[in-house]
Structures are given as structure tokens and as C-alpha cells.
């Protein structure tokens, strides 16, 4: 299997469903160490993505991700909007005009997305941000490709599992970037909302390929 435009559209649709379904959960995570808006923002943003996709259905995975990027940038706001926007934009750029994406290309696109987040947000691993979901996911995807995983689904599953583990691993951390950093030690003992939403996005990618 190769990832195509249909998969991309399905992925974004499942992302929107996941954000709607986990809206309160993400709000609740952000309430504990932030300002209670992450779930609302992600839900609003991905609903807007669906509307945009319906208005002008894109023809390539890259075009779909670029449209998603621009929409997230203009509809999410807060820290997550520009960060996810940049991630999707860099991934789209990495994919170029390709209509079908293989494992290696997808792993590279994810890495480009992660690099975009780091470039904008300057967070390092362990700072208790979405980077703590993305970097394990990128590493797992790359490792699977290096190990010769032929099937892109394997890559997607490896990335999703790593992202979920990475999100869970933010629980004990003290935040050093973003709003949660204002809490200092009090941020420990809570999951980072952006890492949690990232894990949902990686899991949706598996669902879209299933």
C-alpha cells in the first residue's frame, strides 16, 4: 500500500473526528496546566479544515496537507495553531507533487514536520510539549524504514504507538516551554495537551489506512 490523496483526506477527516470526540478531554488537560482552550481550538481548526477540503478538494496529498496547514494557521490560534500549521506545511512541502507516498517519503515528511515545530517553538525533547510526541514518532518511523519495513501501515502504526508513549511520558515532566512552564514544578503530574492531541493525530493516520 502507498499513501494517496484519498488516504490523506480520510486522515484529516479522522483527525477532525478525534478532536471533536476528545475535545473535552483536551480542554481538561489544558485546564490543569494551561488555559482550557486546547480542545476547543483543535476542534474548531479541524472542522474548518473539513470545510475547506469540501470547498476545493485537493488533488495530491501535499496539496491536502498544505490546505490543512493554512487552515489550521488561520483558525486554531494560540500556540498550537502556528505549530501544527508549520508542521503540516513542512510535511506538505516535503511531499511535493507526489500522488503516492511510500514509507521512506512519509518518514521524511514527518521529520520535516517535526523540524518545523522545533524551528518555530524552540522546544527540546523533555520540555513537555508536543515535540515529546512527535520526536518519538519520527524516530520510530525512521527506525522502521531503516529496519526495512516494506509496508507503510507498519510505519504508521509504529509512529502512532511511539507518539502515544511519548505523550504518556510527558506526565511526570516539568514544563519548560509554553504556558505550562509558568507553573514550574506544579506542571508535573499532568499530561501535556499538545502531546495528547499529537498522539490522536498519529493514531488517526493508522485509522485512515485501515
Amino acid at each position: 500500500m502507498l499513501l494517496d490523496t484519498n488516504w490523506t483526506l480520510k486522515w484529516l477527516t479522522l483527525c477532525a473526528q478525534a478532536m471533536a470526540g476528545h475535545r473535552m478531554e483536551l480542554i481538561e488537560l489544558d485546564r490543569a496546566i494551561g488555559d482550557s482552550d486546547h480542545g476547543e481550538n483543535m476542534d474548531r481548526g479541524f472542522q474548518a479544515v473539513l470545510e475547506k477540503l469540501a470547498e476545493a478538494p485537493p488533488e495530491t496529498p501535499g496539496a491536502a496537507l498544505k490546505l490543512a496547514a493554512m487552515t489550521l494557521m488561520s483558525k486554531v490560534g494560540g500556540a498550537a495553531g502556528p505549530l501544527y500549521g508549520t508542521a503540516f506545511l513542512r510535511a506538505a512541502t516535503a511531499l511535493g507533487d507526489a500522488t503516492e507516498i511510500d514509507s521512506a517519503a512519509w518518514a521524511a515528511a514527518l521529520a520535516a514536520g517535526r523540524d518545523g515545530i522545533v524551528a518555530r517553538g524552540k522546544a527540546e525533547t523533555g520540555d513537555k510539549t508536543m515535540v515529546d510526541a512527535w520526536t518519538p514518532a519520527v524516530d520510530a518511523a525512521r527506525a522502521a524504514v531503516d529496519a526495512g519495513a516494506p509496508d507503510v501501515l507498519t510505519i504508521l502504526v509504529a509512529a502512532a504507538e511511539a507518539a502515544e508513549a511519548g505523550a504518556a511520558a510527558t506526565d511526570p515532566l516539568v514544563a519548560r516551554k509554553g504556558r505550562a512552564s509558568y507553573l514550574g514544578e506544579r506542571s508535573a503530574g499532568h499530561r501535556d495537551p499538545g502531546a495528547a492531541s499529537s498522539a490522536l493525530i498519529f493514531r488517526a493516520a493508522v485509522g485512515a489506512a485501515a
Partner: protein, 333 residues
Amino acid sequence: MKKLINDPRSVVGESVAGFGLAHADLVSVNADPAFITRKDAPVAGKVGLLSGGGSGHEPLHAGFVGRGMLDAAVPGAVFTSPTPDQILPATMAVDSGAGVVHIVKNYTGDVLNFETAGELAEAEGIRVRTVLVNDDVAVEDSLYTAGRRGVAGTLLVEKIAGAAAERGDDLDTVAGIGERVNLNVRTMGVALSACTVPHAGTPSFDLAGDEIEIGIGIHGEPGRHRIAMENADGITDRLLEPVLSDLKIEAGEQVLLFVNGMGGTPLSELYIVYRRAAQVLVDHGAVVARSLVGNYVTALEMQGCSISVLRLNDELTALWDAPVHTAALRWGA
């Protein structure tokens, strides 16, 4: 959750619309994307002053649009920074060719969104300078945080930079004055209760009946630490101490004292805090030359307040005194 709203998702749009109706003599409201401009924007030859951020801090920022203060305000969703597709057209709407100063409170989201908008504006040929406000002494500015937050001091930056722009200062001068204000103001806040973000529906944190949060920001986030309830004088001393020591106020210096309500605290209590803070400053040898007391930079209906001290000099005092005519701050005009 009991609020005078129709739907959590329409709160900002309807509130801004009402604001536009009530102050049609002062401002124009653009509904989508949402931004508010001075009625007579762009003012020929004048540097444009724009600020924005998440909603829920009213009257900040829209209440400060008008002569002598902001040319534009860009409201995001509640506690969510606005997006570049709002900030860019607002910037374009207030640029007369003299450039636009963006006053940005130091939060990751605000910084990133204004950064992108600034780049896009520059690409459109508009000169943009950014003044980052980070007056909150509750947060240490270190490698281990996103840096100090911008809180109530933002109002002082907007007023004073606004007066500089109004008198015709150029882009770099206006931005420089804004930065000077930021360097000379420090703030510290306390919450007696949390607030409830409309779309969240539950209070932003849980506080026992005898506890207060010290070192809170303006987004309903918990503070630096939680202590047992104290009386007003005790709390005032606790807030003022880090402000004064960080600002290194010395005897004989003139200051502006700003006691800001978080939205749900009665004005009478703010004056009780003001009374003590003024006494402490006088004991400290400072001269309270100007003051401001009220609910100006709020966190919805949160109970609590912040205390800001701004070190004045003759120029800053004159700019503070200069006429201002906005919905929420008005004098000399």
C-alpha cells in the same frame, strides 16, 4: 456555568458586535476576520499602533482603541491568541505608510502568530516593529520557562506608546518608548477564585474556600503557589515586594501605581489594596505621582487583582497625561 451568553462559540463575535454598536462614534468593527479599528484609521502620517490577544481580558484591547492609544485591536477566541489572517488585514487597515507597531504580550501563541503576521505584512511592504510586553514578576525569565508573561503592564505600554504615536513620533521612536515602558513596569497578581472559560464550562482551577493563588496570570491558569487566605494588607505586601525589588525602586523616584481588578472583584476592594500599596510605596520613599484603579486587564469573572508599578520620568508622565479617547480610558479629550 452561568453566563450572560448565547452560545460559547458566539461569545467573541457577539461581544465585539455589541462593542461596535455601543461605540460606533469611536471604532469600526470588522466581523470576519475579527478586528477593531479606530474610526478614522489610517491616520495620515501617524504610526499605527496595534495590539491583540485572546479575548476574555476586556476592556483590553478593544476598549483602548481610539485617539491617543491603539489604532487597532485584534481579538482571538477566549484566551487564545488571534491568527495571522486577522492580524495582517488589521495591520494593513491602520498603516498610513508610517509603519505599524505590534504590541504583543509574551505568550508562545501570541508571539508565533504575530511573528507570522509581521512577516506577511513586511511582504506587503508595511514596516512592522514589535514591542514584547513581559511585566509579570511571578514568572522567572529563564531557560526553563517561556519567559515572563505580559499582563496588566500592557495597558501602560499601549497608553504611553499611543501618546507617542499620536504626537507624531516615528516608528522606531514609538516602538522604543513602548519598550522603555515595558522595561520599567513590573506586575504581580493574585486570584481569590478561578474563572470559567465559556467553552470549557468548568472553573479553570479548583481552590478551597480558604486558599488563594499567588502569581497568577490573566488566563485563569493556576499561579506559582497557593497559600492560605490572608487579609488585604498582607496580600498587598506579598504582591508589591517582588515588584519593588525587581524594579529596584529607590527613594525619591516617581512612580505610577496601577491596581488592576481581574474582573470579579468589587472596585471597593481594589481601593483597599490601593490604599495599602500607596502607603508601602511612600514608606519606601517613592512618590506616587500617578495612579489607576479598576478592572482593565481582566480574566473573565476571576476574583483577584494585580499590582503594577511603573517607574516614571518626565517624558513618560507627559505621555501618560496626554489626551486619550477610547471606550475604557478617556481624559483630556
